[in-house]
Symmetry: C2
Subunit: 424 residues, 2 copies
């Protein structure tokens, strides 16, 4: 549909997809916000309508995926509810505000020139992901909402599922009068396709987004010749200050660590002021243990309960993504801030305190993408930020930092309106 018939030559295939994407990006720039919304609504309907085909394709993938771990099989597996969830996510993306054309700055110079910075699409976005087929729909829809052409490369084990989803999406693009190449899916499992995308396909790809585990992100960062927005580790800390409200602190720590342990916004380290380890600290340790969380602690933490095991140096830099927490006493805010600066990954960190002055000091001093006061680190999520949908949480500092929604998938241009001005 969007690739030459001879899939055996991956280099030629990818080059052709790049040329298509670049041409399509120019065509997409002329579409209106309403047209994009309509295409996204049709896409949600098309996915619902194609559920039998998608489930069929998924059974083929599942049958072939005998070597995968139960966790990976679960990520790959679709059922009627999950397909409905995928369609709903696309419908949600249809409902979020269209970022295009928004004026993000507006000023005049003394010579009368009128300057406006307006949002425009980036152009062509390449997304490389692993076994979850839903990313095909999420990433494609978010790129469309932001006016970009997309080249998607999913995991080889989910290729049949992704192709069925993609076919439904393409039928909606066609029905909405959009180029069918607005969202292209790499039709080969040859890993050379990823390498080709990382070179930028001769300037066709403006931005690469890896969505997956550390090894995928590491490969993308090592090989990419184009800008990358990556989502790295969230070694997040919740710091309980001496002036914390005990009830808030207990609720926040439990939620931050245990609501879902496998998400990037989960807390991995709890720091507690040494003046309150024997009071509030003892309650927090008891709460965590009662909820089934293992605790690796320093001397002060171990003194509170014999079930707390000794933390090693390694524990302070481990993202458990599990019901395990590292916990230690600190002498105060500066000690907590220094611990976070040394061991954290600048993703999401929180303080619990009733002291506004201490909280503001912490918010200013901690250089992480998201810094919270009296709230759970599990709020690190584009949906919770009000973005409607996200393609990940960027942990780099350039272009976007934190949740990446439709607005973060745009760039800007500066329009300058004059009345004949020439430069002296």
């Amino acid at each position: 549909m969007n690739a030459p018939a001879d899939f055996s030559d991956t280099t030629a295939l990818m080059a052709a997809m790049g040329v298509e994407a670049r041409a399509t990006a120019a065509a997409l720039a002329g579409k209106s916000a309403d047209a994009r919304t309509r295409a996204l609504k049709l896409m949600a309907e098309a996915i619902r309508a194609a559920a039998p085909d998608i489930l069929n394709a998924n059974q083929t993938d599942m049958a072939a995926a005998t070597g995968l771990s139960p966790a990976m099989r679960d990520r790959l597996m679709l059922d009627a509810g999950r397909v409905e969830g995928i369609a709903n996510a696309v419908a949600d993306i249809a409902a979020i505000p269209d970022p295009m054309g928004a004026v993000i700055a507006d000023w005049r110079q003394p010579n009368g020139l009128h300057f406006q910075r307006v949002r425009v699409p980036i152009g062509v976005i390449g997304v490389v992901y692993e076994s979850r087929p839903n990313v095909t729909a999420d990433a494609g829809a978010l790129c469309l909402r932001s006016g970009n052409a997309a080249i998607l490369r999913g995991g080889s084990e989910s290729l049949n599922s992704s192709r069925a989803l993609h076919a439904a999406m393409v039928s909606a693009l066609k029905a909405a009068g959009f180029p069918q190449t607005a969202i292209q899916l790499v039709p080969t499992t040859d890993r050379a396709a990823v390498g080709a995308m990382l070179t930028g396909l001769s300037g066709a790809i403006d931005l690469m987004i890896p969505r997956g585990g550390k090894s995928l992100v590491a490969r993308v960062q090592a090989e990419a010749r184009v800008p990358v927005l990556s989502h790295l580790e969230g070694l997040n800390t919740t710091y309980v200050h001496a002036a914390a409200d005990p009830a808030k602190a207990r609720a926040i720590v439990l939620n931050a660590k245990l609501r879902r342990t496998g998400v990037c916004g989960s807390t991995e380290t709890v720091l507690i002021d040494s003046s309150i380890t024997h009071t509030l600290g003892r309650d927090i340790v008891a709460d965590l243990l009662a909820a089934g969380c293992a605790i690796r602690g320093d001397e002060a933490a171990r003194a509170l309960d014999p079930r707390v095991t000794a933390a090693t140096e390694e524990d302070w830099r481990t993202e458990y993504l599990d019901a395990i927490v590292s916990l230690k006493a600190v002498s105060g805010p500066d000690d907590a801030i220094a611990h976070i600066a040394r061991h954290g990954t600048q993703h999401t960190d929180a303080i619990v305190t009733e002291s506004a002055a201490v909280a503001e000091y912490f918010l200013r001093a901690v250089d992480s993408a998201i810094v919270l006061w009296n709230a759970s680190t599990q709020f690190a999520d584009g949906g919770e930020f009000g973005f409607g949908a996200e393609i990940g949480i960027a942990t780099g500092k350039l272009h976007a930092r934190g949740p990446v929604g439709a607005a973060e998938l745009t760039t800007y241009k500066t329009l300058v309106r004059g009345t004949g001005q020439i430069r002296p």
Copy 2:
């Protein structure tokens, strides 16, 4: 002063500079806007006071630079007026608004969480440049204004001049109570130092900015393992629409092409609606020829004056940076837009017309960093935008597009203030 004594091991030297820069970046984050302003004012004074040393060092560089072209010798050469200009540029940077801490977005969610995006420094910025010694002061000062630590690597032929400038800057940092390592200058001419910077010095460098010719930018883009903001070609077009005001069009084309031919904002191609080539087009050709500009044109342009030579395909994609222009007739706005999309470099393009509808169509359709209506492309400059100073004009689409001033050298973090919220 900021490097180990043994300069023979470039790898060790650069690694040590990276460690210093990273530590310094954390210390700089605690400084106030007023402190930065004071340090910049002291820096301007220190450069003025050190003028004799700087001129002395420059004479050593000039004496050694016998193999350079006259143009390169001119770039390298300093005199009292140029040193004063360098000091004034630093004083100008002291006077621009400090970007740090500015709230760039502020919103609340229904659960009561209060979100703020605030500007923060990027961290450590590496700048690689060529023979102009003034970049040492410009880039260092702009990094300081934006709260970043800088590692500067100038051209080997200007090393003595840059060291003398840098010594003055460091004395000012010291006097202002700033770490002397806030602005480090690579003290070796070993090209391996650039390679080391491009790897990011084990995570110490957050952003690389090349300032120089195509070969330098190409090397940086090919080798960089860290984000790069680069300044590429400006193959800019001025399009004279049928509804252009003749006087404005003639003044704008002359200024856009000839005010300064060597700057990235100069116009390289003029497109004229075919319905007016024999009227306004003839005047524009006469103006350009009278001003000493060579014209390479299509059939329509050659019919206007025998001095117009035939343009080759190559001319439409050549950035002359000289008193040469390519000129052709187009059938209307869509033809002009297509020519720009095909041959332009998405830097700066302009339309001259009295039709607001056509102008707005052009502004929307042309995907360049800067798009102007009834104004000269030579306004493509951070100073003209009101930024006070610029470190270049970014031609990529990620992070910053167009002039890069102090605000563009920042990133943001999101502060989330709650009252005990946990995520359901």
